[in-house]
Subunit: 210 residues, 4 copies
Amino acid sequence: MTGKAARSPRKAKGHGGERREEILTAALRLFGEFGIHAVSTRQIAAAVGISQPTLYAYFSTKDEIGEELHNRAFAQLAARLTQLPRSRILTQEDLSAALKAYVDFGLEQPDAYRIAFMLETATHRTQFLTKPDLPAGSRESFGVLHQMVVALHEQALTVDLDPDTLAQSLWAGLHGLVSLLIARPGFPWVERQHLIDSHLGLLAGAVLRR
Amino acid sequence: MTGKAARSPRKAKGHGGERREEILTAALRLFGEFGIHAVSTRQIAAAVGISQPTLYAYFSTKDEIGEELHNRAFAQLAARLTQLPRSRILTQEDLSAALKAYVDFGLEQPDAYRIAFMLETATHRTQFLTKPDLPAGSRESFGVLHQMVVALHEQALTVDLDPDTLAQSLWAGLHGLVSLLIARPGFPWVERQHLIDSHLGLLAGAVLRR
Amino acid sequence: MTGKAARSPRKAKGHGGERREEILTAALRLFGEFGIHAVSTRQIAAAVGISQPTLYAYFSTKDEIGEELHNRAFAQLAARLTQLPRSRILTQEDLSAALKAYVDFGLEQPDAYRIAFMLETATHRTQFLTKPDLPAGSRESFGVLHQMVVALHEQALTVDLDPDTLAQSLWAGLHGLVSLLIARPGFPWVERQHLIDSHLGLLAGAVLRR
Amino acid sequence: MTGKAARSPRKAKGHGGERREEILTAALRLFGEFGIHAVSTRQIAAAVGISQPTLYAYFSTKDEIGEELHNRAFAQLAARLTQLPRSRILTQEDLSAALKAYVDFGLEQPDAYRIAFMLETATHRTQFLTKPDLPAGSRESFGVLHQMVVALHEQALTVDLDPDTLAQSLWAGLHGLVSLLIARPGFPWVERQHLIDSHLGLLAGAVLRR
DNA sequence: TATGAATGAGTCTTCATTCAT
DNA sequence: GATGAATGAAGACTCATTCAT
């Protein structure tokens, strides 16, 4: 008890959660477009076509919207990677497909990727003191890559480096491409698909034993 | 003599430029620590030991401070890369040294790197409509890498891909590592130097013809 | 006993009046605990186990709940004083018993006493302009004391002062003790019952002719 | 550190504190008239003729205004009682003068008295858990009465009751009169000065040995 | 040059209340 | 009779910025 009368429970489910989804959709777009800090609850409400207070029937805080979006983004990426068809015995092609899936996700859903991996909020120093670094979905996403690398490593299909390092290096390679393409659309990139294919080819080539 | 005890020490005025530097230094630290949006002009002023309005004698806007920092960060990185000793005829080792320098810069000056490459502000969609994408320093930094790759390409020391693509791929690889290490210090990374060395080795190995 | 688990159990509806009572009971407790201003209709509704709008089926306004509670508190006190057994010909002991009953009421039902006599609301200047000062129950409560004093005065059992003044002075003495004990539970009071007994003894001694 | 950048210091002293005084004066009147909870910072600002944010240059919180007023009220009362001329060897008349001073203070400065002794804020249950009951000034005010009673007790000038109890009983008697007169101006009181004189006479008579 | 003082616009959030169902 | 959903108005508070001095 904090010394105030107990709060009444929030989070009603309007029409089976449709409103909630509308809010999340609008917020995702706005956060992605302007950055979380630059978007006000008024703007979100207006984008959904509801009043500001109505927002608070579905989320008890602006941050809560951000968190939900954050979690969902991770969950989507994890799902995408997890649901990939894969050979019974993992092959190098399976890994390549996963790398491609990661990049595709980021570029198809840049707002979600931004919220998941590129937002200031969840990443500033002070917060490390109180919050765990990444939500479950995050480790899960990375986990898929990691497990694949381990599996290939066990088949001696990777270069001669410990799989943990390889996996982290791969992740860095993927994240670098996605985040730059998202954040710097105006940069004079070479043809995008060519860049992606080449980059993924180089990453795979660097990590996999030929 | 103002005689006021318990007042931030009024630093010697010196020539106007010094004050400006102090402001930038304080702002860089604060922006890096709390995020640009979470830092107020009041905090900056307080950190420097001046009044809020005095800030406006040096910068006409809070954003202007951010932009200056942004530009400087790029300039620093560019300088670092430009001033690297290099063989008369560019070698693969020269490129490797540049890659290392890039990463070192990012990790030694995470605040600057953040402001240059990872900040929400100044990189969001709407702004692309009105502003050019990257300041001069940016293209310059990338330019160094690019020129190196071109030079090596001309010596047939790179793999068989157009040098533009190779350079951009390299940049992505570098940025991915630096930005993740900065943004996710809590992640269970393998030993940092080992990760860096391995990652750079893989990147170089992927791009350079052996 | 609202059975706090998760959701308050929807009590059997019964006849409309019961609901109303439940609301009043819950509101009295909450108002007493947190202060009228700090309690929202949502909290009251939640405490009763009904929805916020349902409140408005029983009371057309939050203030109306407060007023009803206010009136009831007075009525209770009046009833307590009125129902006191008393000698056919009023004695000094009858008055003493009434004084004790007043204090007992206040300390046994501090929430009710608060609402009746100590609440900011309904007692502030502006409201005196439009509203009569005290509800019927109020004058009635005081009336009992007043009548007693008058009766004793007629028997020449009081000190030599007009009975109106004596009665009002007595009331002040009672209210002062009750309100301080309620409002300042943390004050280093002497043993409570001793304080009460002594105080009432002094009041009676001051007013009654020996 | 709460995870936000340090706050810059507030509480500037406008024109040697004049503004601050204006704010306190306006707030005292408004709080007294409508109750603390019913007064908004906007209203206070408007009453002073300044903007809402300007308020925050002098007080960092609405509550802080209330606390300052609270403390001042106690300090005033304490000063009033302390500065009373008194015989070298305390007499019964000295006590009577103090009783009168207490009542006079309350009736001359009803807003201050309200804030000191009658406000909901500082007196609700939950707060007892975290806050000490009364500020220093409070015990000090009561302390003057208490010391007087003790002094008279030592001269055997009081009735036969322990002085702590006598002092608390006296306080209750005083507070009851003042608070009722303040809170119930519409009640059909007998002539005010007569009531006061009689009440104080009765209190003194009850407590002092004749 | 520097600042004390001030502010309009805006932040998130909570409230009592209403209405269609 | 009851409610899920919604809202206008208001709450305290913070911001970047200006201006007279």
